[in-house]
């Protein structure tokens, strides 16, 4: 990185000692959180555990899935800290189903692409957008319909979260993030839509060590960073082939 300037100046660092201290003072009852991940792939494991340990209640969580019974967001359902989920698919979680059928948990089902775009838009200062996804279905009920060039679209709202929790592969101290493989998924959009965004990363390096061309989420979106070198990375469906 020959072009980076190296004169003496204080290094901006967003690194916090651990997930628990990183969430101190920013999580409150009744908040809306956006959490990255698809299934258990690319979820911020340490931050979800730390969120549970804050004891914050009546949370609304926008996340594509709701984890499984004993991992990911499922941990927060077990402790009854969540009153509403905004998700596209929740089929892997029996505790979720139990609370939902008992009327203890509200669910706003949102098509997957619409959910990603709602976070992206919220982070980009766009309060709403029109999409064809869901037109003519229960998802469209009560939403504004508008015709463009003979095609009907519905209005969906951007999401701005009070706090966003995301998982990266590599980060530098400025909060620049690089994701790995399909663990990227919703993480860049969750990061962008958080008024306060906390990221955990497997690898944390000095500013200048990441190639600027390879940054997925620029550090401007990330307010606090936690180093979590050995996440469990549970696999939901381990499928293999024979040689």
């Amino acid at each position: 990185m020959g072009e980076a300037r190296t004169e003496d100046r204080p290094v901006l660092t967003k690194l916090w000692p651990d997930a628990r201290t990183a969430l101190k003072g920013i999580v409150r009852d009744g908040m809306l959180l956006a959490i990255g991940g698809f299934g258990l792939c690319g979820i911020p494991e340490a931050l979800i555990l730390a969120l549970r340990d804050t004891g914050a209640r009546n949370l609304t969580i926008a996340s594509n899935n709701a984890g499984v019974d004993d991992w990911g967001i499922g941990l927060l359902l077990k402790t009854r800290q969540v009153t509403k989920m905004i998700s596209s698919y929740v089929g892997e979680n029996l505790e979720f189903e139990r609370q939902y059928l008992a009327g203890e948990l509200e669910v706003e089902f949102c098509p997957q692409g619409t959910l990603a775009e709602r976070m992206r838009a919220g982070g980009a200062g766009i309060p709403g957008f029109y999409t064809r996804s869901g037109v003519g279905t229960v998802i469209a009920e009560g939403k504004e319909h508008k015709e463009f060039d003979g095609v009907t679209y519905i209005l969906e709202r951007g999401i701005q979260a009070d706090v966003a929790l995301v998982k990266a592969w590599k980060a530098d101290l400025h909060g620049n993030l690089i994701y790995r493989r399909t663990a990227r998924n919703f993480n860049p959009h969750a990061a962008a839509c958080g008024k306060i965004t906390v990221a955990e990363a497997e690898i944390v390096v000095q500013p200048g060590e990441l190639d600027p061309d390879e940054i997925h989420t620029p550090g401007i979106y990330v307010h606090r960073l936690v180093h979590h070198p050995h996440p469990e990375k549970r696999i939901e469906k381990r499928t293999t082939r024979e040689e």
């Binding site: 089902f109 064809r132 399909t182 990227r184 998924n185 696999i235 293999t240």
Partner: protein, 214 residues
Amino acid sequence: MAWTRHQMAARAACELQNGFYVNLGIGIPTLVANYIPSGMTVTLQSENGLLGMGPFPLEAEVDADLINAGKETVTFVPGASTFSSADSFAMIRGGHIDLAILGAMQVSERGDLANWMIPGKRVKGMGGAMDLVSGVRRVLVLMEHTTPDGGAKLLRTCSLPLTGTGVVHRVITDLCVLDIAPAGFEVMELATGVTREQVEQATDASLSYSDALR
């Protein structure tokens, strides 16, 4: 003789063209990947953020960070790319995917599709199905012609909650290939040994037949 699941998948593979970008749903559609004609390049998209999805990994290749939309561990083919969820659905919604092959619970003669929930049963959510059917250029449904107890799945009107309206172009079942034509279901092909009467009995809508079958 009706088609087997594998024969249905092989028939669906005849819809592929060289250079196509294709999204395959869970169930029988997944089998289509095994029947891509040799010498044809078809790139598989997985809506969690992957173009160029390869087969399941060898045990030593398993990578928790590399999964498909069914949350199964997969591999890359050479030339694969990964991207965010918003980018993934931008290519879906933006009409860049040539073909989606999906399973279904019900399809109506107007091309309405129901494949995400049964009232009173477990609610799991629609995942990316609504975005796929409304965004992909061509939607092919691959499903058994009837329910396991013989109930019709091809109907005048869907009774289950919809995934999309007027979105299906073609249906391949174990009995036949049907198009959604302006006047309703048009049978394009019959499975070997299947009669018109069999198809009519298993369908709760009126049928027309393509010229080739007249």
